[in-house]
């Protein structure tokens, strides 16, 4: 035994022992099962005005038609002037849909006044990726449960 190279045996032991450790991967975050997903090469299109007519009631159809007329003859031609998202016309329609024509008009009047404020940037509006102020209609319905930040 003494004539055997103990160093050789020791190095073999270490060699075999080291192989018992599995490769330590970094932490995983696959905490939900997922499926394969196709990647689309196409670039995202720019968002133009939505001309869809809301058919939920006669009033909404009428308002949608009026809105589309405004879009076609004026809004599509005078550029992007509204600093808010949704725009004032879309806000008006959303307000009327959420509440009623009278309350919706009052909400729109308030929105129009806020739009006139030169220092609106100092208010607490969240800034969206499109560099517009987030000002959704559901925050102004006087139902505190609907307010979201």
């Amino acid at each position: 035994m003494t004539r055997l190279n103990i160093g050789k045996i020791l190095s073999i032991c270490i060699y075999l022992f080291l192989f018992s450790f599995p490769y330590n991967l970094n932490a995983q975050t696959d905490w939900v099962r997922w499926e394969g997903k196709e990647t689309f090469y196409q670039l995202p299109a720019t968002h133009n005005h939505d001309y869809t007519v809301d058919k939920s009631s006669f009033g909404m159809i009428l308002l949608s038609v009026l809105r589309n007329t405004y879009y076609f003859f004026i809004s599509d031609l005078d550029g992007d002037n509204c600093p808010f998202e949704p725009s004032c016309s879309a806000f008006f329609l959303q307000s009327v849909k959420e509440t009623s024509i009278i309350k919706g008009t009052l909400m729109f009047a308030d929105r129009f006044t806020r739009d006139l404020n030169f220092f609106k940037g100092m208010n607490h509006y969240a800034l969206l990726a499109s560099k517009k102020f987030s000002d959704p209609a559901y925050n102004y319905t006087l139902h505190s449960a609907k307010i979201k930040f």
């Binding site: 490769y23 991967l25 970094n26 499926e35 394969g36 990647t39 090469y41 670039l43 299109a45 005078d78």
Partner: protein, 278 residues
């Protein structure tokens, strides 16, 4: 004596690993079947299981590479890049090293992190081990430019492979079909609405011209009739609004037109092109 000792050592090691290898091969086939049937999440589980039990790290490269492919198929590009990087580290030869590196480039292309993809292409080009693979590098460089919507540079990259390369011709045609955004804006400064007509939106352009003429007439008429306040209000709230709008629309329509042209080519590449895609 030494020979006997060495022989016994080798034999025992061989016997020890041979049995385990059978099970690992079966596991590898199982994982590959899951991958081929597009059950990527489960495939990753089985590849990880294989990796855990593969104490000799025989399958390390293939496992990391396959896990990377699974994540790529699930559009989880950050994880895909991570595993392709592991594959690169465990590559056993130059081909494996190159393959894993190109997969990282392809994943960056899909993730639209073009700068990183181009940087990696440059690194590969400078690496003297891959001097004979410049065609592949230029191919992926071209794809990086395509998905970054830079068709001119894409054409140049494909031209380095072959002056009649299918993708070079496509890139050149796409670049030629685009309109000039600057030109559209400039002509709209001179004649509001002209830029829209140049970009193909004739009705919008004519309406812009109409509004500008009408509001211009109102403004001038107001000043002629000494209604200065009315003139200022009409000029500010109507004429200037439609003038600015025409210029904005000229730019927007030109960009939209160019986007349509790009997307047409990208749709072709996605659905009809038969070559290797990212």
């Amino acid at each position: 004596m030494k020979i006997r000792f060495t022989a016994i050592l080798l034999l025992s090691t061989f016997l020890f690993t041979a049995k385990a290898q059978d099970h690992l091969l079966i596991q590898s086939d199982y994982a590959n079947n899951l991958f081929n049937s597009k059950q990527y999440y489960d495939a990753i589980t089985e590849y990880k299981r294989l990796q855990f039990f593969d104490s000799t790290k025989t399958f390390n490269y293939e496992i990391n590479y396959k896990i990377g492919e699974c994540y790529k198929a699930g559009a989880k590009y950050d994880d895909a890049v991570k595993y392709f990087s592991f594959a690169e580290l465990s590559a056993r030869n130059e081909d494996e090293h190159f393959d894993s590196k190109t997969q990282i480039i392809r994943t960056n292309i899909l993730r639209r992190t073009t700068d990183r993809a181009l940087q990696l292409c440059d690194e590969l080009e400078k690496d003297q081990r891959f001097n004979g693979k410049s065609d592949q590098i230029n191919y992926w460089r071209g794809w990086a430019f395509i998905l970054a919507d830079n068709w001119e540079y894409a054409a140049k990259s494909f031209a380095k492979i072959n002056s009649n390369h299918e993708l070079k011709i496509l890139a050149e045609q796409t670049d030629k079909a685009k309109v000039s955004v600057t030109f559209a804006k400039v002509i709209s400064y001179i004649l509001p609405g002209a830029g829209a007509i140049y970009s193909g939106k004739i009705l919008s352009g004519l309406m812009s011209i109409g509004w500008n003429l009408l509001s211009g007439y109102w403004t001038v008429n107001s000043f002629i009739e000494d209604r200065v306040f009315d003139g200022v209000v009409v000029a500010e709230l109507v004429w200037l609004r439609f003038y600015r709008g025409a210029i904005q629309n000229a730019e927007e329509f030109a960009l939209e037109k160019n986007l349509e042209v790009s997307n047409k080519s990208l749709r072709y590449l996605q659905n009809e092109y038969k070559g290797i895609k990212p």
